[in-house]
């Protein structure tokens, strides 16, 4: 749209400077809006003004974004909300990345972090309220300047106009006058019809800098006097350092420090190549691995064995056991899913500077509050002496919610007494991840003589993410991620039972795009398909029959099916599969059209049609891009990805043995947005869950082979086809 806003400007907004600032604090009764003067009294932290929106006499509107830009478009969509409600001209809007601090915490999460497909959902109303307050103040300032009634003035594209005479003043010209006014606490929001940008495909603000190599990611940080660091780490979980050659490393030209930290032995050097050379010279010997017999096969055995344990009841409606016992037709299936790596294209990295009176951290993070707390702890400084600088994220997907790399960089800067840029290699990144949990699930289900699903009994064995990350949210022993998409599934089945068996293993697990839905949608939507087959019904009709009271689910299913030509004849050898899933407040249905090479079992996905209902839409282009991205990442996992383990550690190392989906494997993807006008839903993650089951269901339709283990590698498909 405009070149003028393509470059992010980190304006130093001063609270003392001229212009209008809208600041905000969260109070128990809700969001309280403040002027600059009030904000100054409110905060002791002069470097971290509470400012969210600043309008300066140069007619620039600066919007502070408290969420991380990791590709999902928040640097565009959040400022769009402000610009719209403020009635600013999009061309005058600049974006500032928020520093870490209490004032920029998400009002719902009470934490400054980006995840859970929640940025727009949580910030939409607060941002509109702040922007509306600023607009009302600007209008009042104009009315006073002209000595006319407020009702005769109107905001229009960055100006306030006097309706009768047509005279106008820019927001910049009014900003100083406006800054002296009382901030209205209950400003009137625009009506739906008055919205100018919300709902429009406003081009992303980061498109230019990301197409010219100018965008600055964490790895692109340079600070004066910095050292590079590299860490030698154990290859086996739980092993300890037996010995290492400190002198040899110190003898490498350019090496300045060798430090032992909890995760390994680190070398800090003047250049990255010296740091690597020094790390290799360490020749670290490790001892006492705790789980040396652990490998992929042993892990799978442990999951399978756990299926026989009694779990904790997560859902119990009706009497599933009795219904299963009496049913006309009863089926059972076991599904096995692997651990997955995040594999963000930008490997983990962090630059930290710990000094006597100040600490700075430059990091591509999804978790500013976590980084800030950690830096306060490790530096021993006061919160106001610690500054977190969020760069662009070269992918997040949940991995950058973790702060492990930040802790290392902080410790190393302390040890070396200089700023340290810590870069992980791809191998370190892949082998030191917090993986998407592997799972093993057994489902039993039944249909009655009329072909209606009457019972569903579900048992999932799954490691717990929440017990490590948010233990308070584990209620009655149930990890909410492990059962998401199961305990809240919308299918109207009268007898429904779900049980969770927690399994504790040395492999660390974490949030991976769409979290529990990434595995549970596969098992639930595959099994619904299996029930439809048992009932001799069309998979779409069968689903619609179970969703009579769920119009949003029905509508996305009908839309995706309709656009994909469900039920219409296909090219020879092709077949379609359908799946739907509700996650993060959004309904998504996907239809995959596939063919299977009968000789080698290779699946070709030709086309994916997606329908999404996320309530209302801020930017349809971004919604569409996120669906495309979610489908591609989900398909990558469905067809190719599986972490391998050997000798008590991680075996997969890099893209040669943990490959991602490539262009040649990517289908045509089309997304249809269903605007229900309902409550806002998230958009970063919900595209992922339905794709794996949609493909597996299509493979079943094509071959009669039911794939219950992921990934659907050719040999897995071939083995399943042989059983048919």
């Amino acid at each position: 749209m405009t070149r003028s806003i393509t470059r992010r400007e980190f304006l130093k907004t001063s609270m003392i400077g001229a212009g209008l600032t809208i600041a905000a604090v969260m109070t128990p009764s809700g969001l309280r809006l403040l002027s600059a003067e009030e904000a100054k009294k409110e905060t002791l932290r002069a470097l971290d003004p509470l400012a969210w929106i600043t309008i300066t006499p140069d007619n620039i509107v600066t919007v502070t974004v408290n969420k991380s830009e990791m590709g999902q478009g928040v640097y565009t969509s959040l400022p769009m909300i402000v610009a719209d409600e403020l009635e600013a001209d999009w061309k005058q809007v600049r974006i500032k990345s928020a520093s870490a601090g209490d004032e920029y915490k998400d009002p719902v999460w009470k934490s400054q972090a980006t995840g859970g497909s929640s940025s727009i959902r949580n910030m939409y109303e607060p941002l509109r309220k702040m922007a509306a307050a600023a607009r009302e103040m600007l209008i009042l300032a104009a009315a006073r300047t002209w000595g006319v009634p407020v009702r005769d003035c109107a905001a229009f594209m960055g100006t306030v106009k006097h309706i009768k005479t047509g005279k106008a003043l820019s927001y910049g010209a009014l900003s100083t006058e406006a800054s002296g006014l009382q901030v209205p606490q209950t400003p009137r929001l625009k009506t739906e019809k008055q919205l100018r940008y919300i709902g429009k495909a406003v081009p992303r603000v980061d498109g230019h800098e990301k197409s010219t190599g100018k965008a600055m990611f964490g790895i692109d940080t340079f600070v004066p006097d910095m050292l590079y660091a590299s860490i030698a780490r154990p290859q086996q979980y739980g092993s300890e350092v037996a010995s290492f050659n400190k002198e040899a490393a110190e003898g490498v030209k350019g090496v300045r420090a060798v430090a032992r930290i909890p995760s390994g032995i680190a070398v800090c050097a003047e250049t990255i190549d010296a740091a690597w050379k020094g790390r290799n010279a360490l020749n670290v010997k490790w001892q006492d691995p705790k789980y040396s017999d652990m490998d992929t096969a042993s892990l799978e055995k442990e999951f399978a064995a756990k299926l026989n344990d009694r779990g904790i009841t997560a859902k119990n409606e009706g009497d599933a056991k009795a219904a299963l016992g009496q049913a006309a037709k009863r089926i059972e299936a076991t599904y096995v899913l692997p651990y997955l790596a995040h594999a963000t294209m930008e490997p983990m990295n962090c630059t930290a500077s710990v000094k006597a009176d100040q600490c700075d951290v430059w990091v591509p993070t999804q978790n500013q509050t976590g980084v800030h707390n950690l830096a306060v702890k490790i530096s021993g400084l006061k919160p106001e002496q610690v500054h977190v600088h969020t760069t662009y994220l070269g992918g997040g997907f949940g991995r950058r919610f973790e702060t492990d790399v930040v802790e290392e960089a902080l410790r190393l800067s302390r040890a070396a007494g200089r700023p340290v840029k810590l870069l992980w290699t791809r191998e370190e990144d892949m082998q030191n991840d917090f993986y998407r949990p592997a799972t093993c699930t057994r489902i039993e289900g039944a249909v009655d003589e009329k072909g209606r699903a009457i019972a569903w009994s579900h048992k999932i064995v799954c490691p717990s993410i929440f017990s490590r990350v948010f233990p308070d949210r584990v209620k009655d022993g149930i990890d909410p991620a492990a059962v998401e998409g199961v305990q809240d599934m919308e299918y109207e089945i009268p007898n429904l039972y779900a049980e969770y068996v927690r399994i504790d293993l040395p492999v660390p697990v974490g949030f991976w795009r769409s979290v529990g839905s990434s595995h549970n949608a596969f098992t639930v939507e595959s099994f619904v398909d299996e029930l439809a087959h048992a009932a001799k019904k069309d998979p779409l009709e069968f689903r619609l029959g179970l969703l009579k009271n769920h119009p949003r689910a029905r509508r996305v299913l009908e839309t995706a099916a309709g656009k994909a030509g469900w039920g219409k004849p296909l090219k020879k050898g092709r077949a379609k599969g359908i799946a739907y899933h509700l996650s993060f407040g959004s309904y998504v249905a996907e239809v995959a059209e596939v063919s299977v090479n009968k000789k080698n079992g290779a699946i070709k996905v030709h086309r994916v049609v997606c329908a999404v209902d996320c309530g209302s839409v801020v930017n349809p282009e971004i919604v569409s891009a996120q669906m495309m991205g979610g489908i591609t990442m989900g398909l990558s996992a469905a067809l190719k990805e599986k972490m391998e383990f050997a000798r008590g550690g991680v075996q997969s190392e890099n893209f040669h043995n943990y490959d991602l989906l490539r262009m040649s494997e990517t289908p045509k993807i089309e997304t249809h947005i269903v605007t229900s006008g309902d409550k806002l839903g998230g958009i970063g993650e919900p595209g992922v869950p339905p794709i794996a089951p949609a493909v597996a269901n299509a493979v079943f339709a094509a071959t009669g082979a039911r794939i219950r283990n992921l990934p659907m590698k050719p040999e897995t498909v071939l083995a399943a086809m042989k059983k048919v």
């Binding site: 992303r204 800098e209 294209m345 495309m628 990558s636």
Partner: protein, 151 residues
Amino acid sequence: MISLDINGKNYQADVGPEVPLLWVIRERLKLTGTKFGCGIGTCGSCTVHIDGKAQRSCQVPVGEAQGKKITTIEGLADTHPVIKAWIKEEVPQCGYCQSGQIMQAAALLAEDPRPSDEKIINAMDGNLCRCGTYPRIKLAIRTAVKEGRKP
């Protein structure tokens, strides 16, 4: 001292000849548009042009790049048809792999201004994108082809 011709400028770096070109470009010369992704030539994030050919700079010892013409993303003009097409089709999401994708695509179009779909896919298949922008990359390449045809 290693001497390099990058984007038409001469650069000097005090570095061993075995150090991969990528690290010299990025961390010594601070041309940070070229990205590190895997270090083993499997992801394409570090793609640059060496004497006009797309190469993985993580696989080229800097000593071997001496005396050759190196182009990085910083060396492409903002008006380059591939960059224009990338912006128009809103390809980037996180954006990290896009320098490599653009350099790969630019080399392809320099070699064949009207590549078939198959040729596009073959040329781009070594470049990974975790955000899943492949469909838009394909679209942008076709757009750049169309723009290139205009007089």
